[in-house]
Amino acid sequence: MSNWDRFLDSFFNARVAAEYLPKIIEGFWLTILLAACIILAGVAAGLALAVLRSLGIRVLNWAIIFVVDLFRALPPLVIIALLYFGLPAAGLSLSGFAAAWLALSLVLMAFTEEIFWAGITAVPKGQWEAARSTGLGFLDTFTLVVLPQAVRMVIPPLTNRTIAITKGTALASVVAVQEILGAAQAGVSFSFNPTPLTLGAVAYLVLFLPVVILGRWVETRFAWKR
């Protein structure tokens, strides 16, 4: 058997591929489910924090800034480990899925808050003053005047950050979640052939390549005028 054949037999083994494809596909849907949960919770919580911060309550703002800094500074895998391996010591057990979801949601929340806050502060003060002078209340000014302008500004950085954090779903394999990478690794150890890893890589490409290309498009579409 030539080297090339051996290479093909290792990484593109049709028999192994057929056997483990269903597992990978299951992992694929699990990855999407996890990612969707993270995006929903993370972006919503981040936006909520940004709105809270715009109220300008000093002590609250310090708390928000600390939480945001905390989850920007900690590696996601460390947070996952703390939740999954650490919490049981406090008598609280989380499933791997829940630990990964919570950890990555917290990280996405932190980045989302930071990005939205930057967007909100970038809207000129005159916009607030103009809206308030026409009799709009705080909430109306915020939701009808300020937020729409901020959203447009934050779309490119938010898209890229969301993509980056969503890719962190692969970290869930460390805490025994059978998402794509977890399923692929299990497949490798059962079959003693790396083809499931190849399938896994392809599955990630199918999932993220369009998203990355979309991110590229969003960046030019909403490009800053310099």
Binding site: R72, L74, G86, A90, I213
Partner: protein
Amino acid sequence: MTFDDFLQAFFSVEILQQAWPILWAGLLNTLLLSVVVVPLGFIGGLVLALLGTVHSRWVRWPLIAWVDLFRSLPPLVLLVFVYAGLPFAGLEVNALTAVAIGFFLNTGAYYGEILRAGIESVPRGQVEAARCTGLTTAQAMLHVVLPQAVRNVLPDLISNTLEVVKLTSIASVVAMPELLFQARQAQSVTYNATPIMAAAVIYFILLWPVVRLLSRLENRQLAGRR
């Protein structure tokens, strides 16, 4: 569970004293790893960005494909693929080499995108002025374009570097004895969450100043971009 139990589980001084030598070794390895992978990724990115200035579709399209490919694969997937996959191709790689290759491919793509944007942000007239005084293309790039490019995207470069340092925690998956791995070892020996908590605190102390700095830079950048 009483408060004392909680303290005992997460903030035990006794356990910390026991685990400290292990954690310290892990911290040193994390720093060492960062000192290896950050320059490696940066140099990889620089090469990609410089290739990006070549006006030929035979360079441009493969380059975009390369960058998008490695931005689409989660870094942990790349790492596992290199570490667990390559031996099947007859290439035995140790953990450090696997990490170096994986990070080179992944973070290189990110640094590459950032530096490309930086280079594109330098007005064409700068190169023309340099060429008019007899500087070669390479000299103009080195002395005139790159210094400005790096300065223009400094917040993004710092932000990416922060992410890379955090990302070194995934090396624990391939049994590199960095901070998280050591903390997990200590935790499994002591049956106590204090070592992981300590690792989290160390990461936070290490990276919080960077996060603060970034938050300031990003706010200024967004405000200036309007």
